[in-house]
């Protein structure tokens, strides 16, 4: 027994997962979803002792045992991809059959070598109209190398804005520095810290495979060499069941 959702309801769900096309057009320079391609040395949590926190913490957070680049964990991020408006299907009827289909044949450049084992999807931090924001002094921790910004998922905060008190900027999320923009954005309207301005974990999956494989995330090659260009085939997700 299972509850069955109508086509429109499934469409709503799929839309919610996919996101609105609106932003992608209005902010064409930015992305809608941020993808981090994770080395298979880190496994998706299996519901036992290795938790979702462990997984994300290993892949993304600035912990004390981070490998080659202190504080960055970047060795597990083989590459990233930021969705663009042109990645999205223009025929949204595709969503009515509850199939979420994202991107076609988009290229990305590997940062590290390894084998893709999973993918983390993030929503970027909120993008805020410049006239509405102040940037509080951004505390970039000493354990966070600025160079990590090159691995960022999404646009990083420009270095010139790190201490941009009273100035206005558009702020995006990065895999690394994202955590450091805590308290970095203030609404000039409410006077309080803009609590809604952070990127967020959207989803992750270890369903990775070749293009046309039907995996949630499709790649032309799972074995990655740093510096090489690869193709991100797309994202597939079928919404079938709610219980």
């Amino acid at each position: 027994m299972a509850i069955s959702l109508s086509r429109q309801a499934r469409k709503n769900v799929a839309n919610s997962l996919r996101g609105s096309p609106k932003m992608a057009t209005t902010y064409s320079a930015t992305g809608q979803l941020y993808f981090a391609f994770i080395d298979n040395r880190v496994s998706i949590p299996n519901g036992s002792t290795f938790t979702m926190f462990d997984y994300l913490n290993t892949c993304m957070n600035f912990s004390g045992n981070d490998g080659a680049i202190a504080g960055a964990n970047s060795q597990y991020v083989l590459g990233t991809y930021i969705s663009k408006p042109t990645d999205m299907p223009t025929d949204f009827n595709v969503l009515e059959d509850a199939t979420l289909s994202y991107f076609t044949q988009s290229t990305w450049v590997a940062h590290n070598s390894g084998t893709i084992g999973s993918v983390i999807v993030l929503r970027p931090a909120a993008y805020v109209a410049p006239q509405e924001l102040d940037i509080y002094p951004l505390t970039i921790g000493s354990n966070i190398p600025i160079t990590f910004a090159s691995y960022g998922i999404g646009p990083s905060v420009p270095a010139s804005t790190y201490n941009g008190v009273g100035t206005t900027y558009t702020v995006g999320a990065t895999l690394g520095p994202m955590a450091t923009i805590l308290n970095g954005v203030k609404s000039t309207i409410s006077g309080s810290t803009a609590d809604s301005l952070y990127g967020s974990f959207h989803s992750c999956s270890d369903s990775v495979g070749g293009i046309g494989s039907g995996a949630v995330f499709e790649f032309d090659n799972l074995n990655i060499t740093a510096g090489a260009t690869y193709t991100f085939g797309g994202m597939n997700l079928k919404i079938t069941r709610f219980v």
Binding site: L5, N12, S16, V121, R123, V128, A179, S200, H202, F242
Partner: protein
Amino acid sequence: MATYVLGPMAFPGYTWTNELSNTAVGIYTGPSNFQLSAHNIDTAPQWVSGIVSGCGRYSTNTNVNGDADHDYYGFVVESYEQATTRLGSSAGTTLVPANCNLPFGQEFFPLITVGSTSTTNKWQKFLAGGPTGATRLNIYSGSKPTNVDAITDLTAYNSNLLISFSIPAFATNNTTGFKFLNYDLGIYPRIGINSTYPEMEPLKMVLGICPTKTLSTGDGNATWFWFGNYSSPSNLDGISYLTGDVGLIGSGSDLEMADTMINSGNYYTSSGFNFTIPVYYSV
């Protein structure tokens, strides 16, 4: 078996503090574009989108609906309680998000709204929520249609209709409409992921709560139900609804009753049925 894991179901309030909660704070869907001052929704999107919408107020400017509130769409963005706590008594639940139909002609709706009144006629897009009577819970005898999409005209099943609950609007005290079981949306820290709460929880709700005594109109053994928007029951094209099985309490059915035998002329109330948006999916 491969796994797909959906992120936290709720958009955070302002309570994250440290650790990974800063980066794993909620499923923050939609345009990922949230602006703190008012803009016309069709020219400067400002909403968060997802399964459940709420709304709050950030400024006194007017948006496209003529309301001062801003739209939040989300896998539950925040509850009325949270909005009120955070924003003061002016926080509203009355706003139905306008559709985002530009530039692609794509209507964009969450699944559930806590809104109850609106100047926009978009209720049919929502599975739950809206003003009283916007949604209904119908209980039927006979065989449930095997394909939910085959139900194009609900009136075709009237001969098997046993009772039809007109669902009241969402109430913040969880007594009518629907309720959230495991989130006080927004503030509750469990929506984030951190070392204290290292795993996510599914979004658990109860839909179809109707404490109003409702007269049954048919006789028979309840076997399945239809729940959803009732604005166009004879033409369900573009309507959000769902179907499920009915069984006795403890049967594990989607909707459980103490007695599935319905007699016409009796009065019933509905405590609803469970609706869960899971976190982990096998794919």
